[in-house]
């Protein structure tokens, strides 16, 4: 079960037509899919569209009522290939994943799909993970649209606009027999807003009809000579059809009356930021009434040459807002203007920035330089927003200088009680004996190992590619194998074949650690094949060790509790020193603590209320024995292990402390032992509703201990001042 439940929110999907829907972008998209009569949906989780997958999963009942099939695809490639159902049949299909990484994985299937074209509408919803908050390399999905000739929608960040784009996206796809990509920007996914609903539609044509009356058309299959035909079709039929549709339906918007002899062209996704910039400069109002004409590209590929020429007519200059690089649109529009012998000069990256996010600061400054060039009289120079002032101006919002030395970065890291942390503690301890190894890392929470305090891992080549990333390190003359990490998510995504199978086949000596926390945890705790939980709509509990043995791994070991640091350390040493040929696979198993706590905490509270014996554990540190060297923090990095002012009247340095958020995972105790740390750690056990035996033991012990303690205190008498009693 996913980390966040949408069980309640999905009820909004039943809102009847004509009412105002309030909610998040991901819910709005799901509603729009249902309003469009979608027949099947697939996808792979990953921010920013993880929660779209979670919504769809939680909405399964509603989807089923409408005859919609939903799958958690094994990978983005699987999801893309699923759209094959729309090739021969009028079935509407939608898939979703994180982009560009997911689109990379999907691109083989997408290219084949786009070549032959589609009959039913095919919508690819890409969560564009670009800019602040992104966790991946900074690239654009735009390139995929161009190379495979799929149309790319980039609607304004407004729920009505997003919902509309889903609906016309399907129509455009069908009208031009081309898959359509819908770019959902990072902030749009969790954008809370509202729109007016329409009726949910059952698909007119059903999958059952398709399955029972199979159709084929060999000309839709990518094999010569059809593949050559497809290229001609794309240029001569599908593209013109798409352009016609986009023009007829006025999907791109021309806002304002074109009074000024210069204008703005913007990607739809940047529209709100651009309008805010104009408003701050006194050139527009909050309703989008602008003094400067704006041409909004809700379709960013293809660019409609006629519309650009029309907009550029009688204008001296245009300013293009196109985020990211390369500047595909700028090149495209320049080419259109050149071919049309237009005189308008195109600005864009010259007054904005070539690389990086188009933040309000970047956009407003760019707008100001542009307007100053062409109509300086429109600018009230003595009433400018602070952000465009020179950085040394006292009115500049960053005039108060706080330095990064005072405000530290807070990068994400392992959670309190994370079962992955002890894996790296154990590896550090094992390396004390075996020496350091080259470590190939993967994508997932375990990648936090590359940060302090662990500093483990040299490269990461992509999801599930940790083992493959170690493939180059093969040398019979070395007895020091390389280590590779992989998460259970990446393992089932592709790692089993691209990594494990590859290592078996090529007789690699690598040691592969598969981190099995029972979920695709980093993306929000979605279930996968090896999940330990029962899932009513999926098949789970398929052990990873059985899978690797199935593809020929001889040396495989599952450690079922990663908090047993000693056992894990010894397993590492065994694997790293083993003479057995071929890959050695360690499956390090313990449930993701974030999901476990969410599941167990309410149960424990309920049991306690019902009078059952419940044991709660947490750790602590004795302030008098802790000397404040913080070595325990340096080998753990747990958020609940922190520092606090030293209560010792003579010491100045802060001491370590355990915050009340401690979940008692046990690593502090294991570390204190395994690394021979210091005697300050202790574990407190609190038993609620103790049994009779508990109470008997405690009464006896307390009597004994109090007696000795009275003697102890007697010996300390005369050091502290006596309390004056009345």
């Amino acid at each position: 079960m996913a980390e966040r439940s949408f069980k309640e929110e999905v009820q909004k999907l039943r809102i009847p037509a004509g009412e105002e829907f309030h909610g998040e972008g991901i819910l709005a998209v799901t509603k729009a899919l249902l309003q469009s009569g979608v027949s099947y949906v697939g996808g792979y989780q990953g921010a920013p569209i993880s929660h779209l997958m979670d919504v769809l999963g939680d909405a399964n009942e509603i989807l089923a009522e409408l005859g919609v099939h939903f799958e958690n695809s094994a990978s983005e490639a699987t999801a893309a290939a699923m759209l094959a159902a729309s090739v021969n049949y009028p079935l509407r299909g939608a898939i979703t994943f994180k982009s560009t990484v997911g689109t990379n994985v999907a691109s083989d299937a997408l290219a084949n799909l786009a070549s032959g074209g589609v009959t039913g509408g095919a919508l690819i919803i890409v969560g564009e993970d670009y800019g602040e908050g992104s966790s991946i390399m900074q690239e654009r999905s735009h390139a995929f649209a161009m190379k495979s000739q799929m149309w790319l929608l980039d609607p304004r960040p407004n729920l009505t606009a997003i919902v509309d784009s889903v609906e016309y996206g399907f129509e455009l796809s069908e009208y031009s027999n081309t898959p359509v990509m819908l770019e959902l920007r990072l902030r749009s996914c969790h954008l809370h807003g509202s729109f007016i609903t329409k009726e949910n539609k059952r698909p007119a044509f059903t999958r059952k009809e398709a399955m029972e009356n199979p159709r084929r058309d060999v000309s839709r299959i990518v094999l010569p000579p059809s593949s050559f035909l497809h290229e001609q079709e794309k240029i001569n039929q599908r593209m013109p059809a798409a352009i016609q549709f986009i023009k007829d339906r006025k999907i791109n918007e021309m806002i304002s009356n074109g009074k000024k002899d210069f204008g703005i062209i913007t990607q739809g996704g940047l529209y709100n930021t651009v309008m805010r910039g104009l408003q701050l400069l006194g050139l527009a109002d909050i309703y989008g009434n602008s003094e400067i004409p704006v041409y909004v590209l809700n379709v960013t590929y293809p660019i409609i040459a006629d519309e650009v020429e029309e907009f550029a007519k009688d204008k001296r200059a245009l300013l293009l807002f196109e985020e990211g690089q390369p500047d595909y649109i700028e090149q495209n529009i320049n080419s259109i203007l050149r071919k049309a012998d237009a005189t308008a000069k195109l600005h864009g990256k010259d007054v904005l920035v070539m690389a990086g996010e188009y933040t309000p600061a970047v956009v407003t400054k760019g707008l100001l330089s542009f307007v100053r060039m062409y109509a300086p009289q429109l600018i009230t120079e003595n009433d400018l927003p602070g952000i465009v002032l020179p950085p040394d101006s006292p009115e500049h919002p960053m005039a108060i200088k706080l330095t990064p030395q005072e405000v530290h970065m807070r990068p994400p890291g392992f959670c309190t009680g994370c079962p992955e942390r002890p894996i790296f503690s154990a590896l550090k301890l094992a390396e004390r004996e075996t020496g350091k190894h080259h470590v190939s890392a993967d994508i997932g929470c375990h990648l936090f190992s590359i940060l302090p305090p662990f500093d483990i891992g040299a490269t990461t080549m992509g999801y599930g590619l940790g083992s493959a990333g170690a493939a180059g390190f093969q040398d019979a003359s070395s007895d020091k194998p390389v280590l590779a990490f992989m998460g259970d998510g990446g393992f089932w995504h592709n790692g089993l074949t691209s990594g494990v199978g590859n290592a078996v086949f090529n007789e690699s000596n690598q040691v592969l650690v598969v981190v099995d926390n029972a979920y695709s945890a980093a993306t929000g705790g979605q279930d996968i094949l090896s999940s330990a939980a029962d899932n009513p709509i999926r098949s789970t509990k398929h052990p990873i060790e059985r899978a690797v043995r199935g593809v020929g791994v001889k040396w495989a070991k599952t450690v079922t509790n990663t908090f047993k640091v000693d056992e894990l350390r010894d397993t590492f040493i065994d694997a790293l020193t083993s003479k057995e040929p071929g890959p050695k696979v360690i499956v390090a198993q313990s449930e993701c603590t974030l999901n476990r706590t969410r599941r167990e905490r309410p149960l424990a509270a309920k049991a306690e209320k019902e009078g059952k014996r419940v044991v709660r554990e947490r750790y602590g540190i004795d302030p008098e024995t802790c000397t404040g060297d913080h070595s325990c923090i340096r080998i753990s990095g747990c958020p609940s292990l922190s520092i606090t002012a030293n209560p010792d009247p003579l010491r100045k340095e802060p001491i370590a402390t355990v915050l009340s958020s401690c979940v008692g995972c046990g690593l502090c105790g294991e570390n204190a032992h395994a690394a021979a740390l210091c005697p300050s750690f202790y574990r407190t056990q609190v038993i609620s509703n103790p049994s009779g035996w508990d109470r008997f033991k405690t009464t006896f012990r307390n009597a004994y201990i109090s007696r000795l303690q009275r003697g102890i205190e007697k010996r300390y008498e005369g050091i502290e001042p006596e309390l004056v009693s009345a």
């Binding site: 960040p157 930021t273 602070g386 890291g413 070595s631 003579l650 340095e653 005697p679 001042p721």
Partner: protein, 518 residues
């Protein structure tokens, strides 16, 4: 086209760390806005930042008019154009200032002033904490209105979370055009933990209302904003001790305290009193006498060569007391068995009377530590004997767990704590005394020629701390710096050099950076 209207949206940013309830707060704001006839938009950046990282939520509100057009709301805050910033912690408030979200023109900054330390602050070998006062000062300078308080404490006292207190403080500022009932309605509609949330909300509301009232003349506005720090409490206690050292000790130490009062200046008395109490607790009154005898010779030099601050006496006394009470197994056991520790742990675990509390220690006594506690000859024999080494390793090699709440576990630690009388004859005791005297001799030698440098040498002792490997590394670094001292005397600024070396030793545990400097 008509002249653009000057209406603008209400803009609000929330800075929080993953899992702190920033999302809940944003949801309340949206619910509040939508129920009060406003367009409401919120955005956040999902993804890995939820794993303990810093996150910014952004909310815009705009009044709805019947049949009126929908406003264009921004998905990102513009520096300099944010009306209200809420921060769940002080460094996050600092981040909002760093990012330009707070301006004296229009921003109300509402923040909790407690600290959640960053990894950089936590992993330092010494004190890596940033200066809270500087952040607060900058926040006050940056904001039009500043509402800061220890909301973490308020949340805990109300059995709720920080977001409820922040929401209450937001209502209390009166910055939003909504009534208190409308705010409370948003909490009620969310349906989760309503009663404690409303309690925390009320406390936050009152707090903001009170703090925004004009202060009576002469009362500094900072009072109460920041949690009272342990350092401030210590300063108050120390002042009382200096004024009357005799009252600060029990019967056995009255004579020594009177001696301190009659002999030493006020600025060092508290440290000396702490020193005699600590050494007595550690060993006996005789040991406290030895401590004072050691400091007496330093003080004499301070009178001649000092600058009147008695910094040398002060710092030497501090580190002599700490070094004389070095962490051996007897001390650890003595601390673990005391009644006050049991009380503290019960409180910390929030155990109720009917609950049963167990305490488990994680100890890892090593051969060296065992030998250290034994009488010198026996200790040396243990260190040299392979079979004994093997035996100790077999028992404690993987660490031992001791249940201090069981009769057996408690008795074990109790017996260890009663070994105090044999300490004076132990292997380590004699070694440590020699080291202390050598260091004191150096301090005093240097004091005759360079007072400031002598103070630095005294403070270098702070490197020696911890247990096992950490202690060994610290001592090695200390020795390296001491060995460098003669060469330093020839350098242009020996004081700066020693301080630089000490900081290098604190920067990195293995001492690699220190060795690079040498």
């Amino acid at each position: 086209m008509s002249q653009p209207t000057q209406e603008r949206a209400i803009t609000m940013a929330i800075l929080a760390m993953g899992g702190e309830g920033g999302g809940v707060l944003a949801d309340w704001m949206v619910s509040l806005g939508e129920h009060s006839g406003y367009w409401a938009q919120t955005t956040s950046v999902p993804g890995v930042a939820q794993r303990t990282g810093a996150t910014i939520y952004y909310v815009e509100l705009f009044p709805r008019t019947p049949g009126g057009a929908e406003p264009i709301l921004s998905t990102m805050p513009t520096p300099g154009e944010v009306d209200i910033v809420l921060a769940s912690e002080l460094m996050e408030a600092g981040r909002s200032v760093l990012r330009g979200l707070v301006t004296p023109k229009n921003t109300t900054l509402i923040t909790s002033t407690h600290r959640v330390y960053s990894m950089m602050e936590k992993t330092s070998l010494g004190d890596g904490r940033v200066d809270s006062d500087s952040i607060i000062e900058n926040c006050m300078k940056a904001a039009a209105k500043f509402v800061g308080g220890d909301f973490s404490k308020i949340a805990e006292e109300s059995g709720s979370v920080i977001s409820s207190v922040l929401f209450g403080a937001l209502a209390g500022t009166g910055r939003l055009p909504f009534s208190r009932q409308e705010f409370e309605g948003a909490i009620e509609r969310s349906g989760v933990g309503v009663a404690p949330s409303l309690k925390a909300f009320a406390r936050g509301f009152d707090y903001a209302e009170k703090i925004l009232k004009p202060a009576p003349a002469g009362v500094p506005i900072q009072i109460g904003i920041k949690p009272v720090s342990v350092e401030e409490t210590k300063a108050v206690t120390d002042a009382a001790i200096s004024a009357d050292p005799v009252a600060a000790v029990g019967a056995r130490l009255k004579k020594l305290a009177a001696h301190i009062r009659d002999t030493y200046p006020a600025s060092v008395r508290a440290t000396l009193v702490h020193g005699i109490k600590r050494t007595t607790e550690y060993q006996d009154v005789e040991y406290a006498n030895e401590f004072l005898a050691r400091i007496a010779s330093v003080y004499e030099l301070d009178l001649v060569h000092g600058d009147g601050s008695f910094r040398l006496t002060q710092e030497t006394a501090r580190y002599t007391a700490l070094w004389m009470t070095y962490e051996d197994t007897i001390r650890v056991a003595a601390i673990k068995v005391r009644a006050r520790r049991f009380d503290r742990i019960h409180k910390e675990a929030r155990a109720k009377n009917e609950q049963v509390v167990g305490i488990m220690e994680f100890l890892h006594p090593q051969v060296q530590e065992v030998a250290d506690t034994l009488p010198t000859a026996l200790g040396k024999w243990v260190l040299g004997s392979k079979p004994v080494n093997a035996l100790i390793n077999r028992i404690s090699g993987d660490g031992i767990k001791v249940n201090t709440t069981s009769a057996f576990g408690y008795t074990t630690l109790y017996i260890l704590s009663r070994l105090r009388p044999i300490r004076r004859r132990s292997l380590r005791f004699n070694e440590e005394q020699l080291l202390i005297d050598a260091w004191l001799t150096t301090v005093m030698d240097v004091a005759t020629t360079n007072y400031a440098l002598a103070c630095e040498v005294a403070e270098t002792q702070s490197l020696v701390k911890g247990y096992g490997e950490t202690h060994a590394n610290g001592l090695a670094n200390f020795n390296l710096i001491m060995a460098e001292l003669p060469r330093t005397l020839a350098s242009a600024d020996p004081v700066a050099r020693i301080r630089q070396l000490r900081e290098a030793a604190l920067a990195e545990e293995s001492g690699a950076r220190l060795r690079a400097l040498l």
